[in-house]
Symmetry: C2
Subunit: 374 residues, 2 copies
């Protein structure tokens, strides 16, 4: 931590480059540049206390360490380490406008952990990367609080993080948030879609909104985060829509849900797990399908939540764009043997049978039954 004593309470959290907060051209010292080192130090101490709450006995990081330490231990036969990285995208602009910074933290954790668990892995720890220009200290704490809440709920450790002050790269008050998750899986328990067979049932888990994808399209439609001022953005976000049963903003900032708790006990039965992120169902479901298989989906098996129809109508978005941008109410799709479908559905409240895996020729599309043939 910049120019301050090395008593960083959050091991492995780097408070990047004190000098980076120098915003003026004249004064060439921190103090003259208006950097409140005391505030940064106090924030770092709070980060430490927050992260500590997520640390079980497997976290071995000593105070001041340059990296986070997590004891894997000897209990694995042939462990495979799984790593993911992903950001929250420009959804951060909406969180900033509405002050829902904790939800931004949930987004970062869940988005990464959902990717991670598609492999069958158990998530172990998370690290965050926050880059900003002059995000208030209190707001930074809110973001990290949200991250820690989400980690805590999942039983994973917030092992470290980086807060980078980057004047000139961001507008004052803006921030970017990305994360990094690590997990472990026994090699013989890997889930990679290779065991999916024709006839397997495809079971959909519901999303609760856009999760973290499609926000720049939505922002374009409503003119959000385009420099029209906070008043404009808030007015648009605070508009109530009957079909949403609330405001646009409430619907848009809903946190990316976690599928770990629901899928964890089912892993031995799952042949494949697709996380429906950027690219929608057609962009993500084929990622788990063997080359000779496709997915035949039953478009009548669910109704996309009203938020998607509101977006389509307001933005006059072509149907095909909708399906390739948004999850359309489907947060994840798992493949299971047809004989297991009933038991898996019973264990997943809100889930439904969305279709099945079918043989397909090389010239056939990987996903059939979505747009265009309702």
């Amino acid at each position: 931590m910049p120019g301050a004593a090395p008593a960083r309470a959050l091991p492995a959290r780097e408070e990047a480059d004190p000098a980076m907060t120098s915003a003026s051209d004249r004064p060439h010292s921190y103090a003259a540049a208006g950097v409140d080192l005391d505030a940064r130090e106090a924030t770092a101490a709070r980060f430490g206390a927050i992260a500590q709450r997520t640390h079980g006995p497997r976290v071995l990081t000593p105070p001041g360490a340059f990296a986070g330490l997590f004891r894997l231990g000897a209990g694995y036969r042939d462990p495979v380490i799984v790593g993911t990285t992903d950001g929250v995208g420009t959804k951060v602009l909406l969180h900033a406008a509405l002050g829902t910074l904790r939800l931004a933290g949930h987004d970062a954790v869940h988005n990464n952990v959902n990717d991670l668990i598609t492999t069958g892995a158990e998530p172990l720890f998370f690290l965050d990367y926050i880059a900003t220009n002059a995000l208030p200290q209190e707001a930074r704490v809110e973001v990290v609080e949200g991250i820690a809440q989400a980690c805590d709920a999942l039983g994973i450790a917030l092992l470290g993080g980086e807060t980078a002050d980057m004047p000139d790269l961001y507008r004052a008050g803006d921030f970017d948030l990305a994360g990094f998750a690590v997990g472990v899986v026994e090699r013989d328990a890997l889930i990679d879609g290779s065991t999916i067979a024709a006839g397997d049932a495809l079971i959909a888990l519901p999303s609760n909104g856009l999760m973290t994808n499609g926000y720049s399209l939505v922002r374009a439609i409503w003119g959000l985060g385009k420099g029209r001022g906070l008043a404009h953005d808030r007015a648009a976000l605070e508009t109530r829509y009957a079909e949403l049963g609330g405001t646009l903003g409430e619907a848009l900032v809903a946190a990316h849900p976690s599928f770990w708790e629901a899928l964890r006990p089912l892993r031995p039965r799952l042949h494949g797990i697709a996380h429906i992120t950027g690219g929608g169902i057609p962009g993500n479901l084929p990622r788990i399908l063997p080359a000779a298989l496709g997915a035949r989906l039953d478009r009548g098996s669910w109704t996309a939540p009203p938020l998607f129809e509101l977006i389509r109508r307001t933005g006059n978005v072509p149907e095909r764009e909708m399906w390739r941008t948004f999850n359309m109410g489907v947060g994840a799709i798992v493949a299971v043997a047809a004989a297991d479908a009933g038991a898996v559905l019973a264990a997943l409240p809100g889930a439904w049978r969305i279709g099945e895996a079918v043989a397909r020729a090389a010239d056939e599309p990987a996903v059939r039954g979505l747009e265009g043939d309702r």
Copy 2:
């Protein structure tokens, strides 16, 4: 990858949110927003080929996977997984101005790996996070090429990454670059400074410039990255200084060096490793010292490279600020038993004995011998 076939050649690299590249307010589809999906797809394929070069037999990621898989294997007794995250800071603005994008990739890898290896860990893999507004596809490839070059040289895998297109959050053409590194160390081989004793020798490894810290201060001094235009910035960066033996830009964009190759074989002898990043020697060396110890440094044991004196003079930066912002020529400091100092020095070309660990009272500073008492 957005709206494109799921044939992503780089496993676990997410091409975030196609819709995010919608920059206009009117058109609400990718095509109308001018997003070149073909170009993105071609870039993703190139990323895949580039990353593949770093993949040994331990990388198990199947095509299309949502996460990267690295086989740890059964060869460890009590493995501890080590994780770090760090960015390149606003040094990216200088790399962008000079087109030294590969060096930005080296920076991201070396900055993280140096943090990682302070624990005694062996680095295993790296993931990158690139966030941008309209960085040209060719430039993205350069950044990832640099990352892969650095990974390859270190023998680690580029396991995945995320390229996030984030209009409105960045100025067109700007980008941010962060990374995540994971390594492993046997629990009984952890290096954490706890074995440092009074009388231990402190040995400095030379830096080759600012590494990745202090750039916003330097940019303030020369007015770089402040929106004065590329011509202004380039003219300043292309100014030759006799004492540098070259241009200011050449000196400033030198890649963060890696200390892994040099320190790897010495690990059994090292009591502590400090990576001299933001906060300089006074901010980082104490991080590895036990509470009852301090460092007595010999300021006469080295001369800070001319770049630092040029910065101090041009910016009229107070001496104390210099030491707390910049590494002043010291990239890392290791602590070893006095009896091992000769052998360790012999194995580290360019290194020197910078001081020693000494007993200290609670009211004494952790580091003595730097600014103010030359």
